[in-house]
Subunit: 179 residues, 2 copies
């Protein structure tokens, strides 16, 4: 039982879902491809943590709807009492910033612009999620509210940094020698 397995159980503790949709929904929290999700769900099922029923669809391919079992819920509750790993972030951009003096200012600015657009998309996505969730759900889950807020705090800080960094890079280019 690795962290991704618990992540899947965590999603399933809210509602039963297909492997395909679990894969889509877990992306913001723990990026994983379907080639990792499907075998893991089979493994969880063989361990008795989840079970599935086949749902036949006419407009789309048939799917397997997984639901969490009592054993799965117990495993989840126990996991919540265990020490929590520190977060891990890997960002190619920071490695490039570290040696930015080696490259052209235009390339660095282009990289920062692309990243800015990425963060803006993220923020828009978050805010639309927030709206639709508030509309659909009368008594929202505290956990989901906390997570949406975490995302917003984080992306806004990244967004501000990117804009600040772009200004710094431009200022540095215009005034390379202050004497």
């Amino acid at each position: 039982m690795n962290t991704l397995s618990y992540g899947l159980l965590s999603l399933l503790s809210h509602a039963a879902d297909s492997g395909y949709d679990l894969m889509l929904k877990i992306q913001p929290f723990w990026p994983a491809k379907h080639s990792q999700i499907y075998p893991l769900l089979a493994q969880l099922e063989s361990g008795g943590y989840v079970q599935h029923k086949l749902v036949v669809q006419t407009d789309k391919p048939d799917k397997k709807i997984y639901s969490i079992t009592d054993k799965g819920l117990n495993a989840l509750r126990n996991w919540l009492t265990l020490p929590t790993d520190e977060p891990v972030t890997r960002d190619e951009l920071v490695l490039k910033i570290f040696c930015m003096e080696q490259g052209d200012t235009a390339d660095i600015l282009h990289m920062l612009e692309t990243r800015l657009a990425y963060y803006q998309d993220q923020l828009q996505w978050l805010q639309s999620k927030k709206e639709t969730y508030a509309q659909l759900n009368p008594s929202p889950s505290l956990g989901i509210i906390l997570l949406m807020q975490k995302g917003e705090f984080s992306v806004k800080a990244d967004l501000e940094w990117t804009q600040w960094a772009m200004r710094q890079v431009i200022a540095h280019e215009k005034e390379p020698n202050p004497d």
Copy 2:
């Protein structure tokens, strides 16, 4: 040539360094164990991107000091012009928050307290780094300044969220039924 390889070249573009110290220095940007660093440095050397000389020490074990070659610098400069991967963050805490309703409030609060201490340590480390760097270096590298600021923006946002989340959890516990 994967991202970690470029990360090592990026560090080496500032100064020659040992595998051990490169391993320590790259942690904040791209976590990696020495078992990953040493073979990669050997691979980079066989590719002609870096070279090393043995430095004999009396008080400590001997070490290999790696330096970047012209070929390495060219590879680094080319890398700066290529598209940049999106950042990847994996945080067990957010998966736990998602199903926090399944556990005890005390366990969740304990998790958040531990995380709070972690972020406070990070912030302290960053600010001490900032000071020592400013003192040691008369003309600081723009890249390093940008990165230290990025870290500070990010950790401060995480810190604020954690404190906010703890207040939310406490409020939610005290007033579970508003009617």
